[in-house]
């Protein structure tokens, strides 16, 4: 290898939740501090939207804000139904008045009711991400838009003009409600153009 190693700006280290500040559908930064106040007032928040539209990114930012304020009880990534036990344990151990962030609320299924009940009994505020309605008092809806994708790409490391506006529209056209998949397609395009050769 010669010269500096070439970084793909669409690699997951640059696009993972927390790497880019949360943005709204128009590509503008979300006011996380105001959202945190709303959460305290409404005693909970549900971030709802399809795959890859920034739910986890927003949750990471909210989690960091409450951690700075000393009010974060726990942050849990829920991947499978059995993680319901982890969620229950997190809510059970969190101090009263704290916030518990749960990423992937929809995997809880019928256990969600138990978690909500336990949180209410313990005075714990829930901030969750989900693909569908959760019934929590405050809702932020995320969606995949071209403006949002363009704003994300603008915040990534320089792609050296390997990617054009038409590529963004193309990628989002192939994955209309999933920004993560669109970014992975842009990853492939960047590799093809800077490395040479078509993907098999």
């Amino acid at each position: 290898m010669s010269g500096e190693p070439r970084s793909n700006p669409f690699a997951t280290r640059y696009t993972r939740p927390g790497a880019i500040p949360p943005l709204d559908a128009t590509g503008q930064p979300l006011d996380v501090a105001r959202l945190a106040e709303d959460i305290r007032r409404m005693r909970g928040l549900s971030i709802e939207g399809p795959h890859g539209t920034g739910k986890s990114t927003l949750l990471v930012a909210i989690s960091a804000a409450f951690e700075t304020a000393g009010q974060l009880g726990a942050t849990v990534r829920l991947r499978q139904t059995r993680d319901a036990v982890t969620a229950i344990a997190a809510v059970g151990r969190a101090p009263s008045g704290s916030v518990v962030c749960l990423d992937g609320w929809n995997v809880l299924g019928s256990s969600a009711l138990l978690v909500r009940l336990l949180a209410r009994l313990r005075g714990v505020m829930l901030v969750v991400t989900s693909h569908r309605a959760t019934g929590l008092p405050l809702v932020v809806r995320t969606s995949a838009t071209l403006a949002l994708l363009a704003a994300i790409v603008a915040r990534l490391p320089d792609h050296g003009r390997s990617i054009e506006a038409a590529d963004l529209a193309d990628a989002l056209g192939h994955h209309p409600s999933d920004l993560r998949e669109a970014l992975l397609e842009l990853y492939d395009r960047f590799e093809e153009r800077t490395r040479g050769g078509a993907r098999g």
């Binding site: 793909n8 280290r13 098999g200």
Partner: protein, 140 residues
């Protein structure tokens, strides 16, 4: 690459130089990293961490493997480490640096500064281990 939170309106700056001019090393070779730090006037460093590690980059979740790690918390040592210092280790036999398509393996030295107000700043400096050629995309 540097990242971290602003203190008093400016980022700290860490400049690093390596014992090998072209930043290329063989497996099992000794590496030495010298660095200098420029801090904003009001910044107070609480502790310093220095590490040599590899990480993956690509389409998968990022993994890291720490080969050398040092955390400095004693005040006098922090002052010395913040003014500029050096650290090093003998590199392992693997993994080698690898420029793949969906998986890349990079080696780097990191200097991480922790400030009194709770924020931290990390500076990362990439180097190469071994001479594995760049992978190509194979037609199916």
């Amino acid at each position: 690459m540097t990242s971290g939170l602003d203190t008093a309106g400016r980022f700290p700056a860490v400049t690093a130089s390596f014992s090998s001019a072209d930043r290329r090393y063989e497996p099992l070779e000794e590496i030495l990293v010298r660095y200098t730090v420029e801090l904003p006037p009001t910044a107070v460093v609480r502790s310093v961490e220095r590490s040599i590690l590899w990480y993956t980059e690509g389409k998968g979740e990022e993994d890291i493997g720490v080969h050398f790690f040092e955390r400095i918390t004693e005040r006098a040592a922090v002052t010395e480490a913040t003014a500029g210092s050096s650290f090093g280790a003998r590199l392992p036999s693997s993994p080698l640096s690898y420029e793949g398509v969906i998986v890349k393996i990079r080696w780097c030295a990191r200097v991480r500064l922790f400030f009194e107000e709770g924020r931290d700043f990390v500076s990362e400096h990439v180097f190469e281990v071994g001479h594995v050629p760049v992978a190509t995309i194979v037609p199916s």
